[in-house]
């Protein structure tokens, strides 16, 4: 199973809470392009089976494989935030980054055919718009550390009080 080794923040989805409404994709594509188009969203909902629904965006891996894979040095990673940046003047849409990403977090713009990826809405004053819009609080901006802390806390509560 693919795992992220990141110390960086990324957008995580709690699959128990996700209802598959796609509002995250509409908010994302509007924020990034001014249009509503799930093909341009940097976060994607997945309905793998009837009741298996989640959403996936960039996991900001350390030493990100997509960056390593890019043959044209179009991708770079911000050492402070882990955010992956794609230089559209260098990218030629070859798709190697997509091959390298275990999370399917990179997509190709259907018109320009160039790669696009989540940047955690670093320019938005109120943070990632998908997180803001998620009606069920399934999406959170978090780190692997915080995720494990939450898991431990949930476990502790369940062991003492029983399942919710």
């Amino acid at each position: 199973m693919a795992t992220s080794t990141s110390r960086y923040q990324y957008i995580a989805c709690d699959a128990d809470k996700c209802i598959g409404c796609q509002l995250c994709e509409l908010a994302c594509s509007y924020t990034k392009t001014g249009e509503f188009n799930v093909f341009r969203s940097r976060i994607r909902t997945v309905r793998a089976q009837e009741v298996l629904i989640t959403a996936v965006a960039c996991r900001t891996c350390e030493d990100a494989p997509c960056v390593t894979a890019c043959p044209r040095a179009a991708m770079s990673q911000d050492p402070k935030t882990g955010i992956i940046r794609i230089d559209a003047t260098l990218c030629d849409g070859c798709g190697w980054c997509i091959e390298a990403c275990d999370f399917g977090a990179i997509s190709i713009n259907p018109e320009t055919k160039l790669a696009e990826i989540c940047d955690l809405c670093e320019d938005e004053p109120d943070g990632p718009q998908c997180v803001k819009w998620c009606p069920k609080d399934a999406l959170t901006l978090t780190t692997p550390d915080q995720r494990s802390q939450q898991a431990r806390r949930k476990l502790a509560i369940e062991e003492v009080l029983g399942p919710a």
Partner: protein
């Protein structure tokens, strides 16, 4: 033009050709989308008087203004064709990603004409249309069909509306499924089957733009937040199945084919019980922040593994109404219907008709021979395995399933002719469409709403149970206000069905669900999307026109005042138990209320529409054809 592309896609299955029709902005302002636009497309494209299963009956699909934008619950599409069950308008709504894909492909609507020689999957890929061989999809259930197409085309973003085996077999109440949601009632699936159309798939890659995105984002965000509040808690937590106990307590829960309105085992088939024992996951339709669909599964017993979304209407029909108290059996029945691609409401009410007919001796065990039970079986009320077997037989049109696949009106007519019986007296349909889960003997305003409804026994097009249940009207009696109340209620519902917006959002604009609370907010959403200048009155007229075009369609297909009827049982057999015992709707009451209703609508005493009324609504061409 924002919100619309201005284009309708026509697909002719006989000739395998397509063309694009341009529509002016004024046309969109009149018919908007959803059921209204679908009905209008049907009005324009049908061969009047045709057999619903003939090539002359087109399938008309309309998207909505808000599809593909973040406007909550705005992702729905409307579907219209002449109903093989009723012979009148068949109009359905489905929550869908399908409508979002349609919008991104830049089509406002689709009209499918003719009849294919061989089974076909029509694939709309933005501007391109492919006629793909669907032979290998035959026999697949609705979920499998959708998945198979996605695999074949290699793209998760392809959205399909499909029919299951029931549609292929021309079960008259077969429906059309997309993403686990259905254009559920009036038998569209049979119309698809008659055209050998197994699926309609869409991939739309274009972005959706609106007139004032900033305002639309703000409005949508606020509604999304409000939709997490107390007004929608009932939908979010239990879904509509929470109605079982409420209806039971009011004596309105149809039980054993509408004989009674209270079920002694209501607790065991309640939304609350299911939530505790069978709930797996809550899911939403496209762009819906409420999420009312409660996916429920069967964990043990003979039906283990069955899983589907269970809502009140399917639950009442296949549970209490068949006398079934084991929720696992109910889930199995709805699962069979959803996967088989047929209307679970009509299925339950048809099975309950067969059960009553068996108990009354119209049918005997012999009549129920099938492969599974070669000696036959005894479908008494409460016999869950019998209901399951009957549902499978209906889907496959095996044995007596062939008769039952025609719905209660035709099945009772055929049976009574052949056997000299009177089973029509417990055939619970209006205009041929089986009734929803509200016993209207003691909901007098709703009884009117149902009787005059353009598509038959439907709770979605008339919302007149609302004043009855909230005590705004006295539900046990009749008075001079009812024509207006029923008419207004129907026009109110039609606004939502036309935009379309799911009605579950109705209290999330301002807290008040009435016109004053909702229309100004809806006008703002329309204006931010389209750039139009709609106000309260324009929004109100959306519903009036939507209803009028459907009514006009029925008139052109031969509707008369006598078609606005109620089931025999509701007029003659009072219930004996519960809070609504002792009531029927008498002929005098019904005819009096119909008079009031036609008068409110500004129609003639015979229920026909004056030319002037239609011209007033901007429907001049309709006035010419059917105005009096």
């Amino acid at each position: 033009m924002y919100g619309y592309s201005g284009r309708i896609l026509h697909i002719d299955l006989t000739e395998r050709k397509t063309w694009s029709e341009d529509k002016p902005e004024e046309w969109y302002k009149l018919y908007i989308g959803g059921v209204s636009m679908a009905a209008r497309l049907l009005w324009e494209n049908i061969e009047v008087g045709c057999d619903p299963l003939s090539p002359g009956n087109p399938i008309c699909i309309a998207g909505g203004i808000f599809a593909g934008t973040p406007v909550p619950v705005g992702g729905k599409h409307g579907m219209a064709s002449k109903s093989p069950l009723t012979g009148f308008i068949g109009d359905s709504l489905s929550g869908s990603w399908f409508s979002l894909a349609l919008k991104r492909a830049r089509w406002d609507g689709v009209v499918i004409h003719g009849q294919s020689d061989s089974w076909v999957n029509v694939f709309i890929d933005d501007d391109r249309v492919q006629f793909r061989d669907a032979t290998k999809l035959l026999g697949l259930n609705t979920y499998e069909t959708e998945e198979a197409i996605r695999d074949e085309l290699g793209d998760d973003q392809v959205r399909s509306a499909t029919i299951g085996p029931a549609g292929e077999n021309l079960v008259l109440f077969a429906n059309v499924t997309n993403d686990g949601r259905q254009a559920g009632r009036t038998g569209h699936g049979a119309v698809w089957g008659s055209k050998k159309l197994k699926a309609l798939s869409i991939r739309g890659t274009h972005g959706v733009t609106v007139a004032d995105p900033e305002t639309l984002m703000k409005l949508s965000y606020d509604i999304t937040q409000a939709a997490q509040g107390p007004h929608t808690a009932k939908y979010r937590i239990y879904g509509t199945a929470t109605s079982v106990l409420k209806m039971d307590r009011m004596g309105l829960l149809p039980t054993r084919n509408f004989r009674e309105g209270t079920f002694e085992h209501a607790d065991l088939v309640s939304g609350e019980y299911m939530h505790e024992h069978n709930h797996v996951k809550t899911i939403a339709c496209a762009q819906c922040p409420i999420a009312c669909e409660q996916m429920c599964s069967v964990k043990d017993g003979p039906y283990a593994g069955a899983m589907t979304g269970i809502d009140y209407e399917c639950l009442f029909a296949n549970g209490p109404n068949c006398g079934i108290s084991d929720i696992r059996t109910v889930i199995k029945l709805v699962d069979l219907c959803d996967r088989g691609g047929m209307d679970a409401m009509t299925n339950g009410v048809t099975v309950s008709w067969a059960m009553e007919s068996f108990e009354r001796g119209v049918f005997t065990k012999e009549d129920f021979k099938c492969k599974k039970y070669p000696e036959g079986f005894e479908p008494y009320f409460g016999n869950g395995e019998a209901a399951v077997t009957l549902t499978e037989m209906i889907r496959d049109r095996e044995g007596i399933g062939d008769l039952l696949s025609k719905g209660t009106r035709l099945a009772s007519r055929i049976t009574d002719e052949e056997r000299g019986t009177e089973s029509y007296k417990w055939a619970m349909n209006i205009k041929g469409l089986e009734n929803a889960g509200y016993d209207a003997r003691a909901l007098k305003t709703f009884a009117l709403g149902l009787a005059v409804g353009t598509r038959g026994g439907c709770h979605n097009r008339s919302a007149a149970y609302d004043p009855d249940i909230t005590g705004e009207t006295d539900r046990f009696t009749v008075d001079e206000t009812r024509g207006r109340v029923a008419g207004r209620s129907e026009e109110y519902a039609a606004v939502y069905d036309t935009l379309p917006l799911c009605k579950f959002i109705r209290r999330c604009f301002t807290g008040k669900a009435d016109r004053a609370g909702a229309w100004p907010a809806i006008a703002k959403l329309i204006n931010a999307t389209t750039g139009w200048d709609f106000g309260y009155d324009e929004v109100d007229l959306i519903g009036v026109r939507a209803h009028t075009i459907k009514k006009a369609f029925n008139i052109r297909e031969g509707w008369t005042r006598a078609d606005d009827h109620l089931p025999y049982r509701w007029q003659h057999d009072p219930m004996t138990k519960g809070a609504s015992a002792g009531y029927v709707v008498t002929d005098e009451e019904l005819e009096y209320m119909k008079d009031l209703y036609y008068e409110y609508k500004g129609w003639t005493k015979e229920g026909l529409i004056p030319k002037s009324k239609l011209i007033e609504l901007g429907m001049d061409d309709v006035a010419e054809e059917i105005g009096v």
